[in-house]
Subunit: 250 residues, 2 copies
Amino acid sequence: MRYSYTMISKTQIKNIKLLHQKKYRESEGVFIAEGPKIVNDLLNSKFKVREVFATKEFKVQGSSLRIHEVTEKELIQLSALATPNQVIASFETEDVMPDVRILKMELVLALDDIRDPGNLGTIIRIADWFGIRHILCSESSVDVYNPKVIQATMGSIARVNVYYADLDTVLKEFNTVYAAVLDGDNIYSQKLSKQGVVLIGNESKGVSEKLMKCVNRRISIPNFSAGAESLNAAVAVAVICSEFKRREKA
Amino acid sequence: MRYSYTMISKTQIKNIKLLHQKKYRESEGVFIAEGPKIVNDLLNSKFKVREVFATKEFKVQGSSLRIHEVTEKELIQLSALATPNQVIASFETEDVMPDVRILKMELVLALDDIRDPGNLGTIIRIADWFGIRHILCSESSVDVYNPKVIQATMGSIARVNVYYADLDTVLKEFNTVYAAVLDGDNIYSQKLSKQGVVLIGNESKGVSEKLMKCVNRRISIPNFSAGAESLNAAVAVAVICSEFKRREKA
């Protein structure tokens, strides 16, 4: 179910390129995603599609869809990537946080000021793998709709809900707030609950002092080396999620 | 113990910049590292320093050292980074693989065709954290002395030994060869040995068929989601290293 080839207009190209910038994504309530895997994952998700621009190679999975066919050259013009891949599509953003009572029934991640787009995208991908469905981000964290974040999720953005909130207010509603710190209790030997929030700090500064006041369980990944000072934030999230979840499958 | 300021010559700048390229690193047997943390870690390691170029801000830790003082502008000329940070130094490469009998006494990682510099650097950092001292790389893997790899190790390159080898030959010497695959045994419930090799595959293709013939333990990180198809290679390494090591500290 494809459009026959129609010239893409300069205005269309300009409008998609504006979405590379946060202020236009926010004013339009729209973001872009690229590549067949990620676009197909999003087409089969809660996100509402706006427009799809694709070369002849692109195969849409599932439901029929109107597609603007573009040339390779046009795709390069639209793309935020160094090597565009078959398709770029725009979707409406989603950010209505559910009632905290819903979140309290699950294990949720909270990110305090994560700044690197690759880290946020990778964390979303990790959450997806480990069946974590909700991530709370401090307002200062990198924009989840940044194309670099979307691409790094490898499609997991279609399945994991990300909300921006004043963490100081929201965390107070939870009974159990874990924080990943360097001098906490050995995560391997702790009892870990199936509900609660796991708070992850900024890449260089860790969890802010203000938010530490909401924390009642300080946990650490033991260090087996004299020299290593830290783990990358996404790597720490992976080990922590694995520890919370393995007890269900061991 | 510093050099008084001496003009850095055009030849010196050119020679350092050539080390951004693999062929010059190989012909010279020299690589570069940047930033106070990484350079200080390397200065206190097995690696022999060649030259250090630093701005006035740089504080060398430990042993005295002759430093070429450079201006911010000169540092930018030398650097492989978008934002240079105080110091750039050159070191002699090290790649003599110890006898396999030494390696067989420990838990070792083997990387089959890892291509992304950030992934290799992050894997070295993870290995360091978990006390893994040796990494074997297939000849086709990205060069460990690539500046992007060195920077991503955050100094762990000073403590983890990385060797390039024909994995097909070397792996045959080991009694236990684990491979991370998508349909292996649940790693959470396996007995895992303290010696052996853990083989990690290429970012998109996984472990090559040829090397799978050397494998006698296929392990997987359970997937808790219907949609997630994979984990990033470095993330998988982190979860696997954590599983091998936690039994020592739990």
